[in-house]
Subunit: 720 residues, 2 copies
């Protein structure tokens, strides 16, 4: 892309010098020219022949306008002609306009006639840009008109956008089909549109002071895309970028904090009911094997451990200090933590920004920055890291080791995570409370979990991202290696925002989250339950090797609901090849239905389930199985669960491993069967046809985004 | 509405006589005229002055067209002029056209010039009609263009549509706002559009042979709505309407079947593992107190009951015969059931239409009709009616009496209903399997449950409705008294349908279900889990008296997610009046947030929950409460559960009863608390912020549709 930064800088300097916050239309056009953004061609002619030549060069139709510093109201002066289609008409038009102008004002200084390309055909679209307080520069795309205004059919990407990002925007709106040509219209030039999006995104990246921008409308045709109108708004005081420690420093400090060899408990107490007592208990009873230093100025020993007046009195190094003292004492203790060179402080106390004490929070942030102490919280329950038997929290202990790392902004949601995990026996590597996020936030955790061998999936609850751009950058990298799931709360509270542009007014906060999370490869959970179930099931499922999903069901009714769920979750029901159809038919009653779902019918013995599931796993054209079990006396729930586990083991021995999920319809015994299956690596759900497919869908979403499986050919691509 | 049926009949007769299946444009216009559907005005003039007079009468602009039986290609002959705006131009145009025509064909027979009103302004919409195999005549409405073609933004109602139905269609599309005027356009004449929809729906109702119809486009303006183009397709062999017994007969027979005093078991057996043995066991062990007659030609006694060779040998009356014999013996036994005048047969056996034995099914249908025996099934698990301790099924017994009546088309889903119900201790009145629905279907059940005092909610799973129209009619009535919830499976398998019209091609099967279920007041469950949870919670919740919902939460994080869920479920978060805000603030810490959600903050004692919940129940401006509990040591889960139950009781004593739902965030003890709360009339869910709000939303949806609560003023109306 040709970009002329010097030209843009010159224009912006002029605008700034004149104290303006927006560019004039001619200035906007010059900026567009400098960044290869096509605008209507134009030129000034001083003769009829010249005008005609100019017009022929830019293509018809054209608009003619008188150029005169003394004529302000061009139309009134008869100085504008639109829709001129031939060279002859341009020549005549030139003469007419000049005559009219002279008639209008005999003394006028007539410099010539402006000839301008007239855009009218093609599909109208909007391309724009906004500055989001969390995500920074974003580029936007939509079809304009009713679609954008009434249906809010618009999509966003972080700027600068790659070519792939830009092309994905053309498919990222509900009415995407329009661009491919409907009702006999030609398809638009996708390449030109993508280039235009990229150029806009580069422009706003290069010039942070450009806060909002509208190209509206852009006319997209078979052979190009031209912005008919340009609006550029500038902000001479853009917000400071948020401070971010360096990647290696984050990794080093977070490793010491999350997997410490020595923990200090500031405010440790022997007194039941005190937070400092609960934390001590959880550390000791949880089985933490590192050093524990109780800090308490008025005790010599707490729970059998020597106590110290200050962290500074502790002889050895300390990796993390857990604070269990009232807010008003935190700052002083934090200075001591800093002087002791402890890399992390877990700030359980509340009483900071969440209660209006913004200054108090600023104070501890400054101390943290000054001494290089990373702060978790304040206003949190603490954190768990199971592989170190570490419960650095005042809540109940949690000890089921596993590979899901969870975090929550809210303490209540943290408690729900603990309760659900315990109830579902979900193995976790860590549970972390982020609270006020004065320092450590979601991307610090991602950075740590990325390189933490005990973690294979990261599931986060958040209400806002303090630095959405930093999160997106880290998530984009991490999600390629490990699935990242997010429950973004506050979806529906799209606060009205002051905006000077059309695009700005359309930038509903949640739509930006939706698009950026997707752009970053993050799986978005729609509910707390989904977040928890995804965290539980995704690490259990092997990565699929392709898009072909087969449903095998004992209950035709479940098959129908499972098919619905597959479509809802963007999964592709494999079109059954005739030979495979015949192979399945060998195992099922003549009135059963092969095809997909494979309906083995209700009264079948274990062997039928066994044979069909084995076939589904063995045939390399099938990539994933969805099983619908129907409780019967012939094949009771636990018999079914065990046979599935057996077939899975048998295939594993042969090197075959595919995702299998199970929906169990039956009496309460199916609950035990579901648990057994989950324990044997097969996510299974009683009384639900949706959840098993939703978790499979989430696994696929990750595998596609991370490039962890071969790309589908266009004919196999899922419908969403 | 003025309708001229004779005129339409005459036209249709002519079309039929000529062996055509569609009407010509002029015929279509005449049909429209007969039903008060506005079409462009037109007339034929034989002089320039006449043309000018006609044009002035209909308003400009107009189109002029030569009228000549010998000129087929009018445009080629120079015989068409469009966009004529003045009387003078009409006169000139008349002359021009006549001259052109003469030049084109000197021998042509020129009858004059047609003057036609030219429509071009206004909002383009589509109004159409289709004939659905299950629902019959439906009227359709959409905005046309991209919205209908690409986004499928179209809505359907059963014909004939009431004025209210028609008006609801204008709000029933995603782009509804367009009709109210956007981008400076005027709002359309809603009354005229509604009348047009009604007239179309009346026309297709009066003439069943009209199978499809398109008015496309219709131009809707500030002062009217005119169909610019009309297309009418006829089907001379419309399908026969499905046989329906009379309402009183259904009620009489269904009462004997569902609440029998005497049951025969055809194929009763003493042999373990046989279906006829399971049915006998379930009847006896379930505690059924009526007479049980085992029918078995080769036994004298089965399980202590005297056995008979045939139902005809039983001395007394029998209300229902449960079939537990192979398919091939069913027909003969059914004849005997008919001869014995038993009103109902429960056909457990499979081996009929579902295995391709369509003839066998037709045979038993014919026998049933001949003898007046209502058939349940075949291919079912049977049914339960708990208040009679009746388990007429081969599945496990179920005995938790309650007020939810459930049914399923599929056996597998039936088993999931039983398992879930048992696990959740859901009280049910009945669980019914409908299987192949050879006779008894969803609307028979609705008709029975409507008058069954033990039932307060009806929840049904179905894959198709054999007679959607009958269902809709019954559901519309029943849903006014008792909530009707439906899980329609096969949502996403919108089979392509052959269609001769544009509207027909757009009639995706699921969109019709969606709209008709809504029109009938049915709550649509989006998942099996929702169906089950709605059935469990809706009867527990009192009917709200208004739209104002308040969230009271101990966890701010839950409050945010609960707010999201309220918006998702169409609930209105009450704008907190200042005095009420002040009243809440009295009970909560100074840094807690009043407003809505009321955030009482995390560390509060039971009293704070108690005081705020009591206030929420006492203040008459608040109509429903959503509670977010956060597990702490200060207020443990069971303490919270008991205090909520106490406050509810206390208020009940004062005559105050409002819906309350609870989301519980905490460790596993919250599961016990949730159960306790549910038992005390408060639907409560652990680890979920969505489900409690979803069930409240479903209750509201019912209350609004059934007119069970005062209508909201426009400012209070929910966003969806």
């Amino acid at each position: 892309m040709a970009s002329d930064k010097i030209a843009v800088r010159k224009i912006l300097d002029k605008v700034k010098a004149e104290g303006r916050t927006s560019l004039t239309a001619p200035e906007g056009k010059l900026v567009c020219d400098a960044y290869g953004i096509a605008v209507p061609k134009e030129g000034v002619a001083t003769s009829a022949a010249g005008a005609s030549k100019l017009a022929a060069g830019m293509g018809f139709p054209v608009v003619l306008k008188i150029v005169s510093p003394t004529i302000l109201h061009k139309t009134e002066a008869g100085g504008v002609l639109v829709g001129i289609k031939t060279k002859e008409d341009v020549e005549r038009g030139f003469a007419t306009i000049m005559e009219n102008a002279k008639k209008y004002d005999a003394k006028a200084d007539l410099l010539g006639v402006q000839v301008q390309q007239m855009l009218s055909s093609g599909q109208e679209v909007i391309i724009g840009a906004v500055t989001d307080p969390s995500f920074g520069k974003l580029v936007a795309f939509g079809l304009g008109g009713i679609l954008v205004e009434v249906l809010k059919d618009i999509t966003f990407r972080l700027a600068p956008a790659t070519r792939e990002d830009a092309l994905s925007m053309l498919d990222g709106i509900a009415a995407a089909e329009v661009l491919k040509g409907v009702r006999g219209a030609a398809a638009v030039d996708r390449s030109a549109l993508a280039a235009l999006i990229q150029n806009v995104s580069q422009l706003i990246t290069d010039f942070p002071e450009i806060s909002e921008m509208d190209l509206n409308p852009v006319f997209a045709t078979q052979s190009g895309a031209t912005a008919a109108d340009v609006r550029i708004v500038v902000d001479w005081n853009p917000p400071e970028p948020r401070y971010r420690p360096k990647h290696d420093d984050i990794v080093r400090d977070m490793n010491r904090i999350m997997k410490p060899d020595a923990v200090a408990v500031i405010g440790a107490s022997s007194e039941m009911g005190k937070i400092g007592n609960s934390v001590m208990k959880n550390l000791i009873n949880g089985g933490y094997q590192g050093k524990i230093y109780p800090i308490n100025p008025s005790a010599d020993e707490i729970m059998g451990k020597k106590a110290y007046k200050s962290v500074k009195d502790v002889p050895g190094a300390i990796d993390v200090a857990v604070f269990a003292i009232p807010a008003k004492f935190v700052a002083q203790a934090l200075v001591e933590v800093g002087e002791k060179k402890i890399p992390g402080a877990v700030l359980i106390p509340s009483g900071f920004a969440e209660t209006g004490n913004v200054e108090g929070q600023k104070e501890i942030q400054d101390i943290g920055r000054k001494y290089g102490v990373r702060l978790m919280g304040p206003n949190i329950y603490g954190f768990y890291y199971t592989w170190k038997n570490l419960c650095a929290t005042f809540c109940t202990a949690y000890d089921v080791k596993g590979h899901a790392a969870l975090s929550s902004q809210s303490g209540g949601i943290g408690m729900a995570i603990i309760g659900f995990s315990r109830s579902a026996k979900m193995g976790v590597s860590a549970i972390v409370g982020l609270g006020n996020k004065s320092d450590i936030d979601e991307d610090d955790l991602l950075t740590f979990f990325e390189q933490d061998d005990n973690t294979t999936i990261i599931a986060q609850h958040c209400e806002d991202l303090k630095d959405g751009r930093a999160f997106a950058e880290v998530a984009k990298r991490v999600s390629k290696k490990k699935p990242v799931v997010m429950l973004k709360a506050g979806r529906t509270s799209m606060g009205a925002r002051a905006a000077s542009s059309h695009t700005g007014a359309l930038a509903g906060n949640d739509k930006i989250y939706e698009d950026v999370l997707k752009q970053s490869g993050v799986i978005r959970a729609r509910s707390l339950r989904d977040l928890l179930e995804f965290a539980r099931a995704i690490p259990v499922l092997p990565t699929p090797k392709g898009e072909n999903v087969i449903i095998i069901t004992g209950a035709g009714g479940s098959g129908v609901l499972l098919s619905d769920a597959c479509v809802d979750n963007g999964l592709s029901l494999m079109a059954m090849p005739p030979d495979l159809d015949a192979a399945f038919r060998k195992f099922i009653p003549p009135f059963g239905a092969a095809g997909n779902p494979v309906d083995i019918t209700g009264g079948e013995p274990p062997k039928t389930y066994q044979n069909t599931i084995r076939l589904g796993l063995e045939d390399p054209r099938i990539h994933s199985l969805v099983l619908g079990y129907w409780h019967t006396i012939v094949t009771p729930p636990m018999v079914f669960a065990k046979l599935v586990a057996e077939v899975v083991e048998e295939m594993k021995a042969k090197g075959i491993s595919k995702p299998i999920v199970v929906s169990l319809a039956g009496d309460v015994e199916v609950e035990e069967a579901a648990e057994y299956l989950f324990d044997h690596g097969v996510p299974a759900y009683p009384y639900s046809t949706e959840m098993p497919v939703a978790v499979l869908g989430a696994k696929y979403q990750w595998a596609r985004g991370a490039g962890a499986m071969p790309k589908a050919s266009p004919s196999e691509a899922p419908s969403r």
